[in-house]
Point group: C2
Chain length 442, copies 2
């Protein structure tokens, strides 16, 4: 299921259509806060008969629930008066030390003083944006980029410029050119947002050679890098790369998360930042929520200290590898000529480009009718792009469901293609504009 099925119990859009007496009172930043057009479709897509290749939900049923049940009980029994009390806005010092150990697996040497624990890495994105972005400031982001990052940057009225990517990640020459053009135009560029490993949504990974080039370019332009790495440890083949932060501690704000390596249910992510930036982030977090849940932080800390979590990640990786292989094999066997797709070495996502003349957003209602769902590519751009693209997720459905989902999807593509061949265009042309799918889909 792509979204919380309990959501379908009511109809927010219906209620939202009442006259809004506060329409003249909202802040300028709130004007763009509107629900996505495709949201209603995803409510349908959460029905059990639909194979959803849309959601980015990890498969938490693979977790050792008995052991986690034991952990949460013991945190309350043994540390209850601390766990159930307010904590500090920076986060639990013990967990921050453990996060240093987790990050060392990807080459980072850091002090726990420079970490702030956040409500998922999404809140870290929000706090960084809040601290750096004035309306009209430029944020550079990959093309395509993570949908809810677009929402967050937009919520603070950033002007998002995309930088081209290919199968080796962001194209350094395109980054250099964007920075030169923006500098010539006198624009204030605040940071370059990148998901270098198994990118959401494109599934591609920044090559080792390009990592050095990207850092050189950013350092030369005095540009901060915002490195978002939720999937780094979910690698199914090949050798791990050093994360950007490992080689540029003063130039990178690094975001990590336990949502994919443990569970999104505890909402524990973090930011690692240069000390002065970290101090600002802590103050921003205080005004945003006072402090994160001490209980949840202690639960994750106890999990890390009492469970072979590296082995758990290996188990996850074997499960996800099989699902990825299943999806790639099904695409290889069934997809029509003129389509192409990425081959991720890890993470959750494959990025598909449809044959010329097809429009993934226009096609979505038909796909849902045929009981398969995906996220149209347009949601992953701040500009009017991505009409021929879709993001497919292999993390949540079983291999059998993945095979069936691709079979149904290819059926829809083929019938759209024959419509295009007969009438010169597919059933419904895109209407232009951008709209993000429901951000419940990380």
């Amino acid at each position: 299921m792509s979204v919380d099925p309990r959501e379908s119990q009511h109809q927010p859009s219906q209620r939202g259509s009442r006259i809004d007496r506060y329409v003249g009172s909202y802040a300028e930043r709130a004007q763009g806060m509107v629900a996505s057009e495709v949201r209603a479709l995803f409510a349908v897509a959460s029905r059990p008969e639909v194979v959803s290749l849309a959601g980015g939900m990890p498969n938490v049923s693979a977790l050792p629930l008995d052991h986690i049940g034991d952990i949460v009980q013991r945190v309350v029994a043994e540390q209850g008066t601390t766990a159930l009390q307010y904590g500090s806005a920076q986060g639990d010092p013990v967990l921050r030390e453990q996060i240093c150990d987790v990050m060392s697996l990807e080459g980072i040497e850091a002090s726990s003083d420079d970490i702030i624990v956040t409500v998922g890495s999404q809140q870290a994105l929000d706090l960084v944006t809040r601290v750096f972005i004035d309306p009209g400031d430029v944020v550079l982001a990959e093309a395509p980029t993570y949908v809810t990052a677009i929402n967050t940057f937009s919520a603070f009225q950033a002007d998002i410029h995309h930088v081209a990517m290919d199968d080796d990640g962001v194209v350094p020459e395109a980054l250099e050119e964007a920075l030169s053009n923006l500098a010539a135009a006198g624009r204030r560029v605040k940071f370059f947002y990148t998901v270098p490993n198994f990118q959401n949504p494109a599934g591609v990974t920044l090559s080792a050679a390009r990592r050095r080039q990207v850092l050189d370019i950013c350092q030369r332009h005095g540009l901060l890098v915002l490195e978002d790495n939720p999937y780094g440890l979910l690698r199914y083949e090949g050798e791990p790369d050093r994360v950007l932060r490992a080689d540029a501690p003063d130039n990178v704000i690094y975001l990590g998360s336990f949502s994919k390596t443990l569970s999104p249910g505890f909402r524990i992510g973090w930011a690692l930042a240069p000390p002065a930036v970290r101090a600002k982030l802590v103050l921003a977090a205080e005004s945003a929520m006072l402090s994160h849940s001490t209980f949840n932080q202690m639960v994750v800390g106890r999990y890390l200290s009492s469970h072979p979590w590296r082995e758990q990640i290996k188990d996850f990786n074997e499960m996800y590898r099989e699902r990825r292989d299943t999806m790639l094999a099904a695409l290889e066997a069934l997809m029509p000529a003129g389509s192409r797709w990425t081959r991720p070495q890890g993470g959750f996502f494959v990025w598909v480009t449809l044959p010329d003349g097809l429009d993934s957003k226009a096609m979505l209602p038909r796909a849902v009718t045929e009981r398969v769902a995906y996220v149209p590519g347009t949601g992953f751009f701040a500009s009017d792009e991505g009409h021929r693209n879709m993001r497919l997720s292999f993390c949540y459905p079983t291999p059998e469901q993945i095979r069936e989902g691709i079979r149904r999807l290819v059926g829809v593509i083929e019938s759209e293609t024959s419509l295009r061949d007969t009438f010169g265009s597919a059933s419904a042309p895109h209407t232009g504009g951008t709209d993000a799918p429901t951000p419940d889909l990380p």
Copy 2:
């Protein structure tokens, strides 16, 4: 202890003094994000030998930890695959229904559709501010008001105007006058922020007669009321008043919290808002954190459905009533002439006004030396006020500690008074300006 004692393990201020290469890159809103001067003092105040009358931490040691341990274990065992997964940004539908039951105790009839679950009510404050406040917009707030609300409004560059209070809460004539003056000046006033019950920090409660007057004034001026009610159920004497929201569903955004009636450790608060506003808040929450912890919401839901929570609140109230009575009796017995203080019917706080010529902020280092801590009044104003005031909390220390703390405090006041009488002013005059105490102190 007033702040997390584990925080004293490192010295953020020292690290923060490094040269900040990003000083020119921050957003305008971040310029005001600076750590409070008194923060270092509170680190000292967390030492065990200090009686802290500063923190607003509830006494969670009175909770049934065995039962809560059982609840958290069962949520993982029985609902783990849902509890540990992403949820919706609006929050768990079951918990939202239960929140309606909680609010009905204070006269509110509401639909669970109009509720959003937040990371404590602090996040609700943040989301409301984000949705409504453009730089320079006016927010009206009581004088004094909740310190971290000041931080949140300031973080979005609101212009905070205070409205006078007395022992019956905010003064309606002062509210009317403020609105007329601001209208005449062409200012955009976005909302009136109020804590009507057992106010933080003043401890006073808005009288029943004034509730109607305040609503009339706000409705006449088309002004939204932001009603923050974390302490409403913690009443130690007298009859409960209807909350403002009960009589003005279209004009009030109501904020509630389980932090004081259950535990702050789960970080579960909520906002109840008119439908169009609620829709904006949900979108803002998505970009702020994707979703709150499903696990924590289910834990609170199971607590409400499996534990006699009304009885638990009665137990809390008996404990807090004794502490309040102890503090009021100690103040009555010991405080020198020329001082006065409020007599709260509930909540956590007493607001003290010192004899003329004393300065609570200047006096704080001496008080901490004498092993007693409080929050100086200046932190509760956006303007330069509160120098003769202090907030005393009776929620966390035991009655014995409260008696000893007041004894020490009175000793400090008396020695400051004799300095004033000898030299014409107390040991250190205030330096002007405002600075908030650490917001870890709700």
